[in-house]
Amino acid sequence: MKTKGARNALEVAMNIVFLICGLIAVAFVLFISVYLVLTGLPAIREIGLVEFLFGREWASTAAEPKFGILPFILTSVYGTAGAILIGVPIGLFCAIFLAKVAPPRLTAVVRPAVDLLAGIPSVVYGLVGMIVLVPAVREWFHLPDGASLFAAILVLAVMILPSIISVSETALKAVPPEYEEASLGLGATWIETVFRVSVPAASSGIAASVVLGIGRAIGEAMAILMVAGNVANMPSLFKSVKFLTTAVASEMSYSAGLQRQALFSIALVLFLFIMLINVILNTLLKGKKG
């Protein structure tokens, strides 16, 4: 039999081990933040913050290199906005369908479909986008090349659908049934009740789903790398464009010197965007709980 002292020592040791495990997540976040700031700042300092953020030209490999990332920032913002504009209505309606309207048999078909869409790897979306969507966009709009912001927006819209659907659905299901019963009792139809009572009541959760979708869209790299054409143009719907993420992904493998450091700075900008979105998301979700 173990002595009491040995047992206590083991207990204390395990307590410390678990504490360390718990703290590791915090350590990871701090580590990533500090690392990105440290590696991202030198280039910004060398190029100049204003020049870097608002410069309209990115020519990293030219004889006289220019490092303005405004095209990337705007492309990411427009691309995300476009994806949200297309994805949110479809996703929200699908969520309403699942949470409130669908007969159980249809739910049993649609919900697994949504889960599967969420599980498809992004390169697979990229491949299908590249082979099906890009040529189709070229045909529809008579362009020399279909790889464009528009194609990227469509791919992103599909990719954010699952997160929007599942978060909105959860929010809609959490609406207290009394609200709906009251509305029905006053003579509203079920559809009127859903749209005028349930949806407003779940609005903070739905807003959270939209913010989550924004985060997904702004952070996606591989799929749009395959469909956006990757030329550092100022964004325009049918031009080949580069996003913040694809700028990093496409140049990293052959970059050197200041160009490489500028890529780290782009990652820092992207990271700041994401942290901002995270903070908004957290406030929204907390507001719902309280």
């Binding site: 083991l10 207990e11 395990m14 307590n15 081990v17 678990f18 495990c21 718990g22 997540a25 915090v26 976040v29 580590f31 990533i32 990105l36 590696t39 479809i90 309606f93 699908c94 309403i96 369908f97 309207v101 249809l106 649609v110 697994p112 479909a113 889960d115 599967l116 599980g119 790897p121 992004s122 390169v123 697979v124 979306y125 990229g126 491949l127 299908v128 590249m130 082979i131 599909v158 659908l161 659907i165 559809i191 009127e192 985060g215 702004i218 952070g219 996606e220 790299a221 591989m222 395959m226 993420t245 890529l263 780290f264 992207l270 990271f271 994401i274 979105i277 995270n278 998301l281 957290n282």
Partner: protein, 288 residues
């Protein structure tokens, strides 16, 4: 009681919205059917034994994806080896040990933040830290370590959820019989929450199999066979493209679309299997 018929406007509103709801759901399903159908149509015919069982050779001008299949398996196993103790440990701390509420909310905020960080940023930090700073180069080990950071939230969250379903009376009973806390966790709490941990692992495997941006610069694009049994040290330190990275390389850089679609079909099958397994385990969990 007789119901007054709806006015025309209200009936139109009702019908139109109902139609839109069905259309949106239908569109979502159609998208999935199209993705699966198209990928299998283009990919399945190109999955041959030769493709699966050989490595690419420039001399013979053949393409084989055996190295990529193995690399995917290696990375999954390596990542799980690191993430399991870490993630389960963190979850145990959060549900069983932690008393300081501010610390708990800090840890939970951190895991949520990790969920939101895009994989390209993980790839970049992993490249800078593991490959360059620690000198691991582009290697399977560096890729796996990067994915450990990325999948931590998945494991922590699912484990935490299943730990919470273990009835409080189990714990009180064990402690009342004189068991120490760690003994109680090891013999009572962990065995009753093993389903949740397994679900977490399956979800993590799904993320790892589908990941590409975080691996591109950490595990690299090596296409040759890594001999597992030949030399342990070398194996961990050699660069290796997983299936997703190989898909990207074949589609974007070599324009070998048949191979790309064959890989896509394999990935799709894996996604189906992983989803199904997660659902089955989840159902078992719920029954309890």
């Amino acid at each position: 009681m007789e119901r007054k018929p709806l006015s025309g406007r209200r009936r139109l509103y009702d019908r139109a919205l109902r139609l839109l709801l069905y259309l949106s759901a239908g569109l979502t399903c159609a998208l999935l059917v199209f993705m699966i159908g198209y990928i299998f149509y283009r990919g399945l015919p190109h999955i041959t034994w030769n493709l699966l069982s050989t490595q690419s050779s420039y001399l013979k001008d053949t393409i084989g994806i055996l190295p990529n299949i193995l690399n995917t398996v290696y990375i999954v196993v390596l990542t799980l080896i690191f993430i399991l103790p870490l993630g389960v440990g963190a979850a145990i701390y959060l549900t069983e040990y932690a008393k300081n509420r501010r610390l708990v909310s800090a840890i939970e905020f951190a895991t949520e933040t990790l969920t939101g960080i895009p994989s390209i940023i993980y790839g970049l930090v992993g490249m800078l830290f593991f490959c360059q700073f620690l000198g691991l180069q582009s290697s399977l080990l560096a890729g796996a370590l990067t994915l450990v950071i990325m999948t931590l939230p998945t494991i922590v969250r699912t484990t935490q959820e299943s730990l919470k379903t273990v009835p409080q009376s189990y714990r009180e009973g064990a402690l009342g019989l004189g068991a120490g806390k760690w003994h109680m966790i090891r013999t009572i709490v962990l065995p009753s929450s093993v389903d949740g941990i397994v679900t977490g692992c399956i979800l993590a495997v799904g993320r790892i199999v589908g990941e590409s941006a975080a691996l591109l610069f950490t595990a690299g694009m090596g296409m040759s066979l890594n001999h597992f049994f030949a030399s342990w040290g070398n194996f961990l330190h050699s660069s290796g493209a997983t299936l997703t990275v190989a898909l990207y390389v074949y589609a974007k850089e070599r324009a070998e679309f048949d191979v790309a679609f064959a890989i896509a079909a394999i990935l799709m099958l894996l996604t189906l299997v992983i989803n199904l397994t997660a659902k089955l385990v989840g159902k078992k969990l719920k029954k309890k």
